[in-house]
Symmetry: D2
Amino acid sequence: MSTATPTTAPHGYSLPLSPSGQSSMITPPPWHFSGEVVMVDYRVDPEAAARFLPPGLTPGADPGAAAAVFARWQWCSLDGAELTDPRRSQFTEFLVLLGCEHDGVALARCPYAWVDSAVPMVRGWVQGMPKQLGEIHQTWPMGVGSAGPRPSAPGRYDGTLSVHGRRVAAAAVSVRERAAEPPFLHTVPLVHTRVFPRWIPEEPPTEQLVSSVVTDVEFGEVWTGDAELTFAADVGDDLASLAPVEVGAGHVFAYAETLHSGKALGGAA
Amino acid sequence: MSTATPTTAPHGYSLPLSPSGQSSMITPPPWHFSGEVVMVDYRVDPEAAARFLPPGLTPGADPGAAAAVFARWQWCSLDGAELTDPRRSQFTEFLVLLGCEHDGVALARCPYAWVDSAVPMVRGWVQGMPKQLGEIHQTWPMGVGSAGPRPSAPGRYDGTLSVHGRRVAAAAVSVRERAAEPPFLHTVPLVHTRVFPRWIPEEPPTEQLVSSVVTDVEFGEVWTGDAELTFAADVGDDLASLAPVEVGAGHVFAYAETLHSGKALGGAA
Amino acid sequence: MSTATPTTAPHGYSLPLSPSGQSSMITPPPWHFSGEVVMVDYRVDPEAAARFLPPGLTPGADPGAAAAVFARWQWCSLDGAELTDPRRSQFTEFLVLLGCEHDGVALARCPYAWVDSAVPMVRGWVQGMPKQLGEIHQTWPMGVGSAGPRPSAPGRYDGTLSVHGRRVAAAAVSVRERAAEPPFLHTVPLVHTRVFPRWIPEEPPTEQLVSSVVTDVEFGEVWTGDAELTFAADVGDDLASLAPVEVGAGHVFAYAETLHSGKALGGAA
Amino acid sequence: MSTATPTTAPHGYSLPLSPSGQSSMITPPPWHFSGEVVMVDYRVDPEAAARFLPPGLTPGADPGAAAAVFARWQWCSLDGAELTDPRRSQFTEFLVLLGCEHDGVALARCPYAWVDSAVPMVRGWVQGMPKQLGEIHQTWPMGVGSAGPRPSAPGRYDGTLSVHGRRVAAAAVSVRERAAEPPFLHTVPLVHTRVFPRWIPEEPPTEQLVSSVVTDVEFGEVWTGDAELTFAADVGDDLASLAPVEVGAGHVFAYAETLHSGKALGGAA
């Protein structure tokens, strides 16, 4: 009879909400990530870096330490369903990382990030990771032939980022040898500010300082060598203040993690 | 002198936060929109529609009333700056709308939406509008020649939506004459559920029922006629339950509005 | 019986060849085009322009006359079939034009062209038009609201071109008044060099000078005013030699033509 | 002095022609390719396959033998310059291959091909390879983590092709063991029909049967196992006639070659 009303409201981990919850653009965590990383250690003006740290974070032991990270990822939810559709389980990413500390614990702050796909972009915003849409490319190691470096061997890797049809950053890493350790800024937790912007005028926006909780971190062989890194001259706004004042070593490695949740940090805005 | 610490935390209307606030992906409202709309009135199974309404909304006077809306937009912030970069000020959109009511006031619920650009997508999430990324195309009226209909005249307009490399919806509208009124579902406010998904396990997600506050609504000539509308057979999940059971009239018109803020509605989840 | 061999070889106007001929990527001419054009008259170094003219063409009465043309097009074949799929019937384009002459007849040479879609790109190569793939955007006139100029009225139109993730060219046109005539370089036939590159070492490449045969040319109102035009500093190679040394008037107009075939010109390479 | 005319006509391997020849969209051969291939052996209706063979080619020893090939490539010209810009040196590809013979020599005919980038598309047309633009994705092997198979190990690889916003083909390959030999259809030369479509009405189009000349062929480990392969039901036109009537083994392997030129075959159209 028609008096029956739906007993379940539309729901889902994220928008879109729907009767079954299956329309959610974002699947609930945890999410597994397997990737290949091309990373360049570099230094920024320490005062410029400090201006990107919110209350609760301090510059840490090595002010001005920064990194540019190109990565290509394959990801899946707990049941691995996304892996059968590589169009949806792959994305590329570019990050800037700044060394920092919270209560004496070393962390990495990500002031800027770009990905080439909408699901990881929105998933970043759930975490407070400021992902925007860009075009990111990095050299693939190749098992045969002369069009690319061999995996786990010396060779050259390039990375590029374009945003809104403009070149924003480019890197070149010439790895020569295996390193004993992964690069420091890729070994510490990320710390983000979750922001839910103001929409109802009388309600303040949400801002919340959180660190990311990951497990099953795995590094492949880390190869290291010389690097170049440039930001475009006309990159505009505050990103330009994080351009390299000195470029350090470059690294290439496989990396995996499982991302579970956020942990609220005291001292948030 | 070096003892100076930043007096201003990184800030912005949205992520990314930065020292000047200028890195924010989303500019603060209000936003001006000017667009061209190809719209098809259709009917869905009223029980299916009801399952998409959250507590606080009821099906309204005409249960099962729905619309499919293709639009191409130009937008700008208060200062109009975006208009000088058409790459950034243009986007295309496809919406499904369902008629509903809140406290006896007629509204439109948008269970699904797609746009072709990241900024309007994220801006949708700020409002609770469940925008995802898709590829949307609609016929352009043309002032001369035979490759397209004339503006403000009888003619045929097609619209298509593809998502993740699959065709999801297609419409064809053959307008014959001017209508006295714009189509009803495009004249009532939108009502959304703002969702900020759970990330810190012990904190519940935010869900908030809001209607959109717009001013400066303007319609151009409304042309109307017969329409076709199809959803792909394999569209999957809950969207399929909103496929047409009957297709009504089609409409083509110019439309503009200024979008300011959200208004919280009682009875939210 | 199995001795039957196909009586018809795979065929088609272009690749891919197939039994029915229907797989051809390019439909046979004629093709109808309806478009909106944002055009900037400018001047290049006459010697630089002359270096782009093949034997048989001379600089003409006004050496150094050039134009940058942004256009958005809808096109269809003779039967109009493509119009029901706007995804396939729409494209955007950016051209550079140089004034020239053949046997005393004024023509326009197009040394560089970009479109955002593969079919018009390959169709360009059939004609000898050197179309590459790029991202082209131009302001849309809008019938209502404040996010864009009104059609057939004073207003500002911007155009941008990006190629391989880099900004290559940008224009701004502020139209003030109707012009009596369309801009000259858009009224003369295009002259191209058809090239079929060398692939079999002992066979020379094909090069053939041809002008385009069009009918049903139609101009809408031509609006005209001041213009800006810039090429990116790092655009590289020979395109940089065609950067503006002086920028003239800008024009906005609707344009249509039907393109039929090429006409071989004497004096080809 | 001003009577000097340019001593060099604009030139280049392909369009665009320019004074230095550096604007050519396509670099002259040879081109080096390094790739990863996901391939499915399958069978088509032998009569359907025969209808795709031009005069000069016969079905060969195993009529109906076919393959679907997903590949991701890195390529460079002789000097390797493209490798420093991975955006330009990478592309993805999907091919259909049909077994055939010419003068008793086994060859592979490629009736359909798609790539995701314009340079390899046009380069295909130089060779007679009927490449169109599509979106191709295939699983990446990953060195660590759970989001993907390990290189050189059992695992599952998926491939998908979308064209004009519609899913056209999908494959799944579950490799179990190393194979002694690469799959046959990937070991024989390709045979294409170079086509330069008619443009000047009184001149016939060029059609020329050519086989590809490659050197430095290199295979990595070939892994093999079960496979699935489906073509979309509404794929339209003649491609549908090449849908699988039986699906055989699947293969995953690295592959490299250097492509030099074409060799004209007798019996061409």
